[in-house]
Amino acid sequence: MKTESTLEKILAAGHLAVTSECGPPRGALPNKVKEKAELLRGCVDGINVTDNQTAMVRMSSLAACIIIQNMGLNPILQMVSRDRNRLAMQSDIIGAYSHGVDTMLCLSGDHPRFGDHPMAANVHDIDSIQMVDMVRNMRDEGKFQGGEKIDGSPKMFIGAAANPFADPFELRVARLAKKVKAGVDFIQTQCIFNVDKFEKWMEGVRERGLHEKVAIMAGITPMKSVGMARYMKNKVPGMDVPDEVVQRMAGVPKEKQSEEGIKICVETIQRLKEVEGVRGFHIMAIEWEQKVPEIVERAGLLPRPVV
């Protein structure tokens, strides 16, 4: 084992892992973090804490991670390269680890264009692949990126994202290979609605044996309504929502659409369980965290194993 991470232990024991996420509040309201995280107790192995998601200012991921850590849950520190240079990243990583946070996710982050601070400067000192390499080096070599020795190196279990649905499709396996080369331990994918395309991507992943080098967790998002399905199809870059999914949501009366969304989500998990190389699920229930326990239960993923 590289770390003390619960997620690493679950995966190493061969269980299908389950993670979900908690978006910190847009204000100094620690109880909001606690309420959201509490909903996930007992039904996930790790809770991703987003880092100024969609380029909107929120409570820092690190601060919210500490709150969640103190509740006896397992936060996953998300970190984007948009807002911090490599000094700030490394200091936050050792800071997080000092509080017991042992799992993180390295991302480039949504462009400020999409948030409510489009006037902000982008940092992007390093990219997500370079961040993975930096964190692995901090853990395994005990060195800062500048080359100096770290006194008490952070033993982080390192995650990254992958979007099998973005273009050019032919680069999507190759880019995963670059993340593997950089030393990533686990991957959480973009929300999967187009299961056929995801399976095609996984074929490419298996052809290169990448599924044996990195634990791939399939990204799942329940849709609340046909409106949300259409929005994700048309407005969210890199999101692939097939017409038949939108039609299925549109085919049921409004008051039953949220239940239909949960059904689709559970069926997707069931189907993906059969895909070789899928090692778990990352459930992103956007502002709908209270549905996660039900999804996990209906998908047959409860109780969570104790490791």
Binding site: S108, N122, Q130, A166, L171, K178, K181, G238
Partner: protein, 222 residues
């Protein structure tokens, strides 16, 4: 070239309105090519300003000059005989040119009439696009001749991110995805295997990370 665009008229008028004798200085280099501050634009701006202030009953004298290169002390020196008759200088060169004039003529207020935009190339008639960020350590040799620092919205050295759709960037459909362009070029060159070389974190000291930059050529320096 360095590209620029003329500032809005109201802003230019606001900056020079306290002055009655204005020396309007263009540049015959980049800003001429991108039609922002060459001889022609100097003439147009001079007429517009004269008309505006005449209409207000507050006429101005505008002296027009277009230097060969406004960023070069040798040419900026040519302004000397005209400086006595000027209350202020309005520069249509890039920021380099305007600063050179300000450095040379310490007693004269200098105002920019253009916004300096970026280092770019002409895509077609009337369209210029960013090509180089001046990072000081060129990566074009490993990125198939397309710069991801200048042309990827996230300046990813290991792209493309998840926001690339049909060759376009998620930030704006008018922006080509730099990594799609890099990939297309690598394929055309039969160098696909290069894609999987992880490009390491960049040393930004050669760029702005090292503070304001200078080049000293010992063989040429006097």
């Amino acid at each position: 070239m360095i590209t620029a665009e003329r500032k809005p008229m109201e802003e230019i008028i606001g900056s020079v309105s306290p002055y009655r004798r204005i020396l309007l200085v263009g540049c015959n280099e980049c800003v001429t090519v991108c039609a922002a501050g060459g001889r022609k634009e100097v003439g147009l701006l001079a007429s517009a300003l004269k008309m505006h202030f005449a209409k207000e009953g507050n006429p101005v004298e505008i002296e027009e000059v277009t230097l060969e290169r406004q960023c070069d002390p040798e040419y900026v020196e040519e302004l000397l005989p005209r400086m006595d008759q000027a209350d202020a200088v309005l520069s249509m060169a890039c920021g380099c040119g305007a600063q050179e004039v300000a450095r040379r003529y310490k007693e004269k207020p200098v105002f920019p009439a253009v916004n300096t935009r970026f280092m770019g190339a002409s895509e077609r008639q009337g369209v210029w696009a960013e090509r180089c960020a001046g990072c000081g350590n060129c990566v074009l040799g490993i990125t198939a001749g397309v710069c991801p620092i200048a042309r990827c919205s996230k300046q990813l050295l290991n792209g493309p991110c998840g926001g690339s759709t049909s060759g376009k960037c998620e930030v704006d459909p008018d922006i080509d995805c730099a990594w799609q362009l890099i990939w297309d070029r690598l394929k055309a060159l039969g160098m696909q295997e290069r894609y999987e070389d992880n490009i390491p974190a960049k040393d930004w000291r050669t760029g702005r990370g090292g503070g304001p930059r200078r080049i000293v050529r010992e063989d040429l320096a006097s």
